[in-house]
């Protein structure tokens, strides 16, 4: 998915609902193969292996979660996928091209929102497009479209500090989606929201995912969140952090909160939580 050239007339802009994916569904988007991250030795101690080796992949149109307790290295993995950190060993690629640094093809959203506090909601969403030299008219169009998807139209000219936590995170997601990334990387995006807002945002993310056909990799420590949202869950545990289980989630693309009460859901949840009770080493 790339932006059409800036000179194309506005009436040819993408429709609000699913753009035809550039690559057919099911093709490999993100591929992380035998990734290891070590932190350099301190004093006389040996280098510490923090993560890995880990294999993770996300296919076109998938929503995949990495779930693990804090300190298992799941955020490190996400940062490696985003190009913000480098893997000590292993291969990381998107669409078959190796990841060598951060870029707008891998939009990221952090727990702390990280909005530009001096920019309005619309300006925040527009930032990535601005960086790529998209012209003003097309920027405005894309922002308008995302404001509609994110249910933020009435707040276009507000500053982040005037918004609630849930709204801020919606702006952050919209901002990451604006440059039409190949994959969206979410790092505990709902971690600092209250329980009610979190629930609403989970349903909202599912909706956005269905509507935009985005490919999403999300990191969370919340087992239920991972099961509710994703099609596949990588369970990370141990020191160094490794994938101890890959769970294929058997609920369809569109699901309601009802799913959380189904026996299958509860079984999977208990199964994953049991894994976390294993000793770390």
């Amino acid at each position: 998915m790339t932006l059409s050239p800036p000179e194309s007339p506005p009436e040819l802009a993408e429709p609000i609902t699913p753009e035809p994916p550039a690559t057919p569904a099911g093709t490999r988007k993100l591929d992380m193969v035998r990734v290891i991250k070590t932190f350099p030795a301190r004093r006389k101690a040996k280098p510490v292996v923090a993560v890995g080796p880990v294999d993770i992949h996300v296919d076109q149109g998938e929503l995949v979660c990495i779930v693990g307790t804090s300190g298992c290295g799941k955020s490190t993995l996400l940062n490696i996928a985003g190009g913000l950190e480098t893997a000590t060993m292993g291969d990381v690629s998107v669409d078959g091209e190796p990841v060598i640094g951060p870029g707008p093809d891998r939009g990221m959203v952090f727990q702390g929102y990280s909005l530009y506090p001096w920019k309005t909601v619309a300006e925040n969403i527009s930032f990535g497009l601005e960086c790529q030299g998209v012209d003003r008219a097309r920027r405005a169009e894309r922002v308008k479209e995302l404001l509609a998807i994110m249910d933020l139209v009435a707040f276009a000219d507000r500053l982040p500090k005037e918004l609630s936590g849930g709204m801020r995170q919606r702006v952050a997601i919209a901002r990451a989606l604006a440059p039409e990334p190949d994959i969206l990387l979410l790092d505990e995006p709902f971690g600092s929201l209250d329980a009610q807002t979190k629930l609403a945002m989970q349903e909202f993310l599912l909706l956005v995912w269905q509507r935009t056909g985005a490919t999403i990799l999300m990191v969370t420590h919340d087992v239920e969140e991972a099961l509710f949202l994703s099609q596949r869950v990588y369970v990370m545990h141990g020191r160094p952090g490794r994938v101890v289980e890959v769970v294929d989630v058997p609920f369809g693309r569109s699901r309601s909160t009802q799913v959380k009460r189904s026996p299958k859901f509860l079984d999977l949840r208990d199964e994953i939580q049991e894994l976390f009770r294993q000793p770390l080493d």
Partner: protein
């Protein structure tokens, strides 16, 4: 003493970090000013011998006389010109070097040690050297203002820049911003209110340098006027100039506060 209930009741006036109604705050501020003013009146009424303290009325008379004779305007202009030029240069250097220091560890490593050394040399101690090198014109005065403030400005701007959240920089990279765009479009706007605060805080040091320069060698300026007045025992004029300094200080503080809030409404407390 019988307990009236659980817990301890606190007076709203002396509660730590309590909210206080605006009327209370204004009243206390007026009270504080009145206290200082009364102290002045009292000191002037009992002044005798060599310790002459002019009364507020006499001081006011000296201010208006200096104003209507045009002398005050001329001195004010001379002093403002010097500090305007010197402090602008100092802030410009501080902004550029501080921005680079706060953004790049390599530049920080190279610059921090010499700056840390230089800033502990009291700039006022350089005055004789500056007079020797640069003569007695405007340049030694402007240079002294620059030298006396630039190191503080640089280090404090660097601190402001370091306070830009790492995640904000990271997220900018993932949105396609290069390093230059991050500097211009993220670090700079985020640092703007902090930089204005730095300018406001260090301006006091700028005034200090100005006064030192004008006391030693000048033909005009507010501090020069104080030296002149001393020669002729015009204590009222000396006091008048001190009051003018105070008023300028408060005014510049208010202007820079206003500027901060106007330039960065998002950072308003």
């Amino acid at each position: 003493m019988a307990a009236e209930g659980r817990g301890r009741r606190q007076s709203p006036v002396l509660r730590i970090r309590s909210e206080l109604p605006m009327r209370w705050r204004a009243g206390l501020a007026v009270g504080g000013l009145a206290f200082v003013f009364l102290l002045w009146v009292w000191e002037s009424s009992r002044s005798s011998g060599a310790v002459i303290v002019p009364s507020p009325a006499d001081t006011w008379k000296a201010v208006t006389a200096a104003w209507s004779s045009g002398q005050l305007g001329k001195d004010f202009g001379a002093s403002m010109g010097r500090i305007g030029l010197g402090y602008t240069i100092s802030m410009a250097i501080g902004l550029v070097v501080g921005l680079l220091m706060g953004s790049f560890t390599s530049i920080e490593s190279a610059v921090e040690a010499p700056v840390a050394f230089l800033r502990y040399i009291p700039a006022t101690a350089l005055t004789p050297l500056l007079l020797l090198w640069l003569g007695i014109g405007e340049s030694p005065k402007v240079t002294l203002i620059v030298l006396g403030t630039v190191f503080f400005n640089t280090l404090m701007v660097a601190d402001v820049v370091r306070a830009v959240p790492q995640e904000l920089i990271k997220v900018s990279y993932t949105l396609g911003a290069g390093r230059l765009a991050v500097l211009r479009k993220v670090i700079l706007p985020h640092s703007l209110p902090g930089v204005i605060d730095v300018a406001r805080i260090n301006l006091a040091a700028g005034w200090l340098m100005l006064v030192v320069a004008e006391l030693l060698a000048a033909q005009s300026g507010l501090a020069y006027r104080i030296v002149q007045a001393q020669r002729f025992h015009q204590v009222d004029i000396m006091f008048a100039m001190l009051i003018v300094f105070g008023v300028i200080g408060v005014a510049s503080d208010l202007v820079l506060r206003w500027l901060r809030n106007a330039a960065a409404p998002w950072a308003r407390p």
